[in-house]
């Protein structure tokens, strides 16, 4: 308990004991929370990595297809064909609570059910390469949405794990040892006070007896 001053009173002792109890309980709970969070996080982050690799591969293919499409059509033609999309995607965000972390769940709905609505242009003046490119991009979309969900969850969980870890460490290495030291200091101080009172009483009793019976004077005469 270096530096901090505690009052060596019984009230303070009871307070510290209660604090220690809470700290130990909290430490145990937080440690469990941290372990469970990490377990969930590791599963999620592995999934995240797989999804990311698959999305990057699919988008790589799509990008190549778009380069091909651009090579076979004029810039103006491409811009016009992409100008008025027929399809639209709406996203519904819900949250799911995993170990007190709110993670997002994305549900998406398309404006029209027809999956061919992604081709929002006339086929007369566009090349087949563009169709391929749009198709390959559309194939990547479900994975992209899933990736967004898992990646965000991973980020949120990582932040929460970091916080919990700090709390566990603070409790384990600072709060609990400090409180224990404080309790020890107070008990020792109280014991010491008790002993000194005892000794004082014994001394006083001796003096009072001496005054009543004059022991030392008798000793002088006898000696």
């Amino acid at each position: 308990m270096a530096g901090t001053q505690v009052n060596p009173t019984r009230m303070e002792l009871t307070r510290l004991k209660k604090k220690l109890q809470t700290a130990v309980k909290g430490h145990r709970l937080l440690k469990d929370k941290r372990d469970e969070l990490i377990r969930e996080f590791l599963d999620l982050v592995r999934e995240n990595m797989e999804l990311r690799k698959s999305v990057e591969r699919k988008l790589g293919i799509a990008n190549k297809n778009f380069v091909m499409a651009k090579a076979s059509m004029s810039e103006e033609m491409i811009r016009t064909s992409m100008l008025t999309p027929r399809q639209e995607i709406y996203l519904e965000t819900k949250t799911k609570n995993v170990m007190s972390v709110d993670i997002p769940v994305f549900d998406y709905t398309t404006r029209t059910a027809d999956e061919n609505d992604i081709y929002a242009y006339g086929f007369a003046f566009t090349s087949g390469e563009l169709d391929n490119a749009v198709r390959s991009l559309s194939d990547a979309l479900p994975d992209m949405l899933k990736l967004a969900e898992t990646e965000k969850s991973c980020q949120l969980m990582a932040a929460e794990i970091e916080k919990t870890r700090r709390r566990v460490n603070a409790l384990e290495h600072v709060i609990i040892p400090e409180t224990k030291a404080g309790i020890k200091y107070i008990t020792m101080k109280l014991d010491e006070n008790e002993r000194s009172t005892q000794v004082r009483l014994m001394k006083v009793k001796d003096m009072m007896l001496n005054e009543a019976h004059h022991y030392d004077e008798r000793e002088l005469i006898n000696g």
């Binding site: 990490i38 996080f41 590791l42 982050v45 592995r46 995240n48 990595m49 990311r52 690799k53 999305v55 990057e56 988008l59 790589g60 799509a62 990008n63 778009f66 380069v67 651009k70 491409i78 811009r79 992409m82 999309p85 399809q87 639209e88 995607i89 709406y90 996203l91 519904e92 965000t93 709110d102 993670i103 997002p104 994305f106 998406y108 398309t110 404006r111 992604i118 081709y119 929002a120 490119a133 749009v134 991009l137 559309s138 979309l141 992209m144 949405l145 990736l147 967004a148 969900e149 990646e151 965000k152 991973c154 980020q155 949120l156 969980m157 990582a158 932040a159 794990i161 970091e162 870890r165």
Partner: protein
């Protein structure tokens, strides 16, 4: 009901318009304008913002602010000029933040 945004240079993202995502072509050479558009999107009704790796490199400090908020999810995607590994790096960063060091993907590049 929220929407999905895609940001990046025009050539990398124009295809997403056909799928029904909102595309926002920006010029990477003008970071200030990119940042303004990004913040505008993030504060409005966009649940997911996909961003090319090249753009993310410019807007990283802005995107970092939304890391601990539920929406928007800022997700890095490879642009037309290929994969720079920025996205994978982001996942590794999460692991590092959570565990202290990258124990999962430390050796695979």
């Amino acid at each position: 009901m929220v929407k999905i945004a895609v940001m990046g240079d025009y050539d990398s993202i124009y295809g997403f318009a056909a799928l029904g995502l909102s595309t926002f072509p920006v010029d990477i050479k003008d970071p200030e304008k990119c940042g303004r558009i990004f913040r505008n999107l993030a504060e409005n009704d966009f649940g997911i913002i996909y961003m090319t790796e090249e753009l993310y490199a410019v807007l990283e400090s802005d995107a970092e602010k939304y890391r601990e908020r539920i929406t928007p999810a800022v997700i890095v995607i490879p642009g037309i000029r290929g994969n720079t590994g920025e996205g994978v790096l982001n996942v590794k960063k999460s692991v590092e933040q959570a565990v202290g060091s990258d124990i999962l993907f430390g050796d695979d590049k």
